[in-house]
């Protein structure tokens, strides 16, 4: 029987909560609920009640019947490394997030909020492909210093959602394909997807292997980085902030926000093109690297994320990787839809639900 499922999706952001209500794949409404200024800087865990009541009040004020909601899905947070998929939120997961066992991050609230509301409404709550998805081969984790191992931190949600969309457009199953997917957003990650598992991916957050992105430095030569650390000008925190949030395209073009890039692209495209050439070159090189991880057995390449809206950049990449496989472009990212679809696959019985242990 084809039953319609209603799924409430919750994506907590630093200054607000993004919610959406889906009926199967169809978004009934989505809304960004801003957080009161005096609450933004309070401890994250103490924000749960406030955010929860804003979400529930919004849904009630719109006039949605809460009994019609079948499941709630939250953006997954910093859990212990797990394989990709849709997880039922259980007590163990809630405890880990409450105790911040694997770190503090606003996405931790996703599962906590979903769980708190689901308890009131007597429905199940899920998370889908959190940032801690780790399906990396052991060999891929090794580095030149035995005590240092590479970590799997990447936008698993969008990478996997794009993998599925790409497979669907090829009339194939995601789990039967070998794909290289480049997500170009605030950070830049290129993943090698082998039969539904991301067996190698650069760490977009810590600067382990990735190309430069909109705001991240990417990989830097060790010697120069060490010099930079010990010349005494900047503290550890300052250097971290600089390499994670103030480098890349931002530093080259001296801009702060994404909209400024759009403006610059319209007014001074020649300057922007020079930087896009660098990004394109590095992304193409990374796609080449991941193709060797897959032993050259690449069914297709996908480019996605915010920066994939620039056709010029896409073309720079495509012309360098076209000898590997066909490249498909999925501009932007739709976190809310990806979360809803992950939950829907479980509700419709198309995918086994996973349990966090």
């Amino acid at each position: 029987m084809n039953k319609d499922f209603r799924i409430l999706v919750i994506n907590p952001l630093v200054d607000g909560t993004h919610i959406a209500l889906f009926e199967n794949n169809h978004c009934l409404f989505e809304k960004l609920l801003p957080l009161e200024n005096i609450i933004i800087n309070t401890d994250l865990l103490s924000q749960v009640n406030n955010r929860k009541s804003i979400i529930v009040d919004t849904i009630l004020s719109i006039g949605i019947d809460i009994i019609s909601v079948n499941a709630i899905c939250g953006r997954g947070g910093l859990l212990q490394p797990i394989e990709g998929g849709t997880y039922l939120i259980n007590q163990k997961m809630v405890d880990d997030l409450r105790e911040e066992k694997n770190g503090k991050h606003v996405s931790n609230l996703g599962a906590l909020l979903a769980n708190a509301i689901a308890e009131d409404w007597n429905v199940d709550a899920y998370i889908v492909d959190p940032v801690v998805v780790d399906e990396m081969l052991d060999i891929a984790k090794k580095t030149g210093i035995p005590s240092i191992e590479r970590k799997s931190i990447f936008h698993a949600l969008n990478q996997k959602a794009v993998g599925r969309s790409l497979a669907a457009s090829l009339n194939a199953n995601y789990h039967d394909l070998c794909l290289v997917i480049a997500h170009m957003g605030g950070g830049l990650t290129v993943g090698a997807h082998q039969y539904g598992r991301v067996i190698d991916v650069n760490n977009g957050f810590d600067g382990d292997g990735p190309p430069l992105s909109f705001e991240r430095a990417g990989s830097l030569p060790n010697k120069d980085l060490i010099e930079l650390c010990f010349n005494g000008c900047k503290s550890k925190e300052q250097l971290q902030t600089e390499t994670i949030y103030q480098s890349g395209i931002k530093a080259y073009l001296n801009i702060e926000r994404r909209v400024e890039l759009d403006l610059l692209w319209r007014t001074k495209s020649d300057e922007v093109k020079k930087v896009f050439d660098i990004v394109g070159y590095q992304v193409a090189k990374e796609i080449g690297k991941m193709s060797t991880v897959l032993s050259g057995n690449v069914n297709a390449i996908a480019i996605t994320g915010d920066l994939a809206t620039y056709d010029y950049l896409n073309q720079q990449i495509i012309q360098q990787v076209s000898w590997i496989a066909d490249t498909y472009v999925f501009p932007g990212e739709n976190v809310m839809l990806a979360l809803a679809q992950g939950t829907l696959r479980v509700l419709q019985g198309m995918e086994e639900v996973k349990f966090y242990e």
Partner: protein, 537 residues
């Protein structure tokens, strides 16, 4: 201090080099003494000016008040020869016996004066603020002089003042004049005809300086589009209807009967005690149960609705209760509708369920007239403490126009029709009707009209209704509870098929053609609805 020839030279030097021009004028208006600075301002040798009449140098040297009343006068003036602007100060020059010897004129170039003002006062600062205010698109205002002439107006004011509507511009001007004459604040609302801008408020305030009226300021405030608000209200109501998340304002009507029910619902919503809702079918018992849920703090938790037939059909009564209490959660509402008299066993079970699940709020609905007397007394006692009787439509027939208005708005939106008025003949007919299906029947009637009427029809009378295609299912004489959409559709389809078959004497080929379906499809549907085949193929 004694002045000797040495320091006299020094004082003379000082006199000529003062930063302001000094002129002494005698009673005959002739210049008797002038310093070099004054000469420079006038652009002439100081010595050549001695003996000249002041009127030949300045355009408006009025100092009568100085001469007559011995007052000091300050004003702006112009040098005749050069057209340069100056600031002049006239001071009476008095003898020891307080008689006027002449007038002392101190002058300074206006540019100089302005530089000092901007350096020493905050005039520049306020000037800049005003410039910003004039440019902003956040407030619409203008400032007028005492004679009603506009000094300046903000960009937003200019764009809001519709030049195409001279009557409006005139009206705003008149309001300003009223304020200036009355010297007090005046506000008024102007209803603009166009639908884009519905009404504007103009607020006019006088500006006074040291008790003197120096002009007025007018603000323009736009009333948010009320047509849009109305539209939004209807849409929100529609959405609540679709989602069944009714609120207290969704109860339509002002009659005392419905007011009592509404007030009771508000009060009982706050309690946790079980409530009994009584009313004929179609009076809105289920709706009221939901409203009580949405009005209380339980709105954050689920509302479960169950028919008593659910218990009868449930193989295991215990399991049925477990599933209800589970879905009802810890703080939800469970609404149980008795479409038939409950058995003693069921009543006892419900009684114990209520005792075991104190956090769940129970609301019961029964059809009137009901044989309550035959019920198990303990259960009835529990229920009868809080009961609300929903009036039948014929008991509150005065609410009919309001209800019609509500449903017409609703279905106009749904079916994209333009019905504006129900004519009196139809209204009179409806007012005298019995309405066995109550509000549900009325709603059904209006939906049928909206569904079948042309989208341009604005008024509906008896004739319009008579000419509508007859709906075989005009009003389903069924319980309001318990008929799913699919069931209703199936029932409709079945009866429609029957009628079509009858019309064509059970000739399937003809019937299929008339219905626009294949013969195979017709057979499938006949099998589905267990309509016997046979007759002519």
């Amino acid at each position: 201090m004694k002045i000797n020839s040495n320091n006299f030279n020094m004082y003379e030097d000082l006199f000529h080099k003062l930063p302001v021009g000094i002129i002494l004028i005698n009673k005959q208006d002739n210049i008797t003494l002038i310093n070099q600075t004054a000469g420079e301002i006038i652009s002439s040798e100081a010595d050549h000016l001695i003996g000249r009449e002041i009127q030949t140098i300045l355009k408006n040297p009025s100092y009568e008040q100085v001469k007559q009343l011995h007052l000091q006068v300050e004003k702006k003036d112009t040098i005749k020869e050069t057209n340069q602007h100056v600031v002049t100060t006239y001071t009476p020059f008095l003898s020891n016996s307080d008689t006027l010897d002449g007038v002392l004129l101190v002058m300074e170039s206006l540019d100089n004066f302005k530089q000092k003002v901007s350096a020493l006062t905050e005039a520049d600062f306020y000037h800049q603020i005003l410039q910003e205010l004039l440019k902003t698109d956040l407030i619409a205002f203008r400032i007028l002089q005492t004679d009603g002439i506009e000094l300046f107006s903000s960009e937003l004011w200019k764009s809001e003042m519709n030049d195409d509507n001279p009557y409006f511009v005139d009206w705003v001007d008149q309001l300003a004049m009223k304020t200036l004459t009355a010297r007090r604040e005046r506000s008024d609302r102007y209803q603009v005809e166009s639908t884009a801008m519905n009404a504007v408020d103009i607020i006019t305030k006088p500006i006074k300086r040291e008790g003197m009226l120096s002009g007025c300021i007018q603000f323009l405030k736009k009333e948010e589009n009320s047509a849009l608000k109305q539209q939004l209200k209807i849409t929100a109501q529609m959405l609540r209807k679709l989602e069944k998340t009714y609120q207290i304002e969704d109860i339509i009507g002002n009659s005392p009967e419905i007011n009592i029910a509404r007030e009771q619902a508000k009060i009982y919503a706050e309690t946790s005690a079980p409530v009994l809702l009584r009313g004929e079918k179609g009076t809105g018992k289920a709706m009221l149960a939901r409203i009580m849920h949405m009005t209380s703090n339980r709105k954050y938790y689920p509302f479960i609705r169950v028919n008593s037939s659910f218990f009868i059909s449930a193989a295991d009564l215990k399991e049925a209760f477990v599933s209800i209490s589970k879905r009802g959660g810890k703080n939800g509402t469970v609404y149980i509708y008795f479409n038939e008299e409950p058995s003693i066993l069921l009543q006892n079970k419900l009684l114990s369920l209520m005792e075991n699940q104190p956090s769940i709020r129970f609301v019961f609905g029964v059809k009137e007239p009901s044989q309550l007397a035959e019920w198990h007394s303990a259960f009835l006692d529990e229920l009868q403490r809080y009961q609300i009787v929903l009036p039948a439509l014929k008991q509150r027939i005065n609410d009919l126009p309001l209800l019609i208005d509500h449903f017409v708005n609703h279905y106009n939106q749904k079916y994209d029709t333009q019905i504006r008025k129900i004519e009196e003949d139809l209204m009179d007919c409806w007012k005298t009707m019995n309405w066995p299906g109550n509000i549900m029947e009325l709603e059904d009637k209006i939906e049928q009209i909206a569904k079948n009427i042309s989208s341009f029809t604005e008024t509906v009378g008896i004739d319009t209704v008579k000419n509508l295609p007859k709906n075989p299912n005009t009003y389903l004489e069924k319980d309001d509870d318990g008929l799913s959409l699919q069931m209703a559709l199936d029932q409709f389809e079945r009866e429609y098929l029957f009628n079509a078959l009858e019309k064509h004497q059970y000739n399937k080929t003809k019937t299929a053609k008339a219905l626009g379906v294949s013969v195979r499809n017709l057979y499938y549907k006949m099998d589905k609805y267990k309509i016997e085949r046979g007759g002519v193929t």
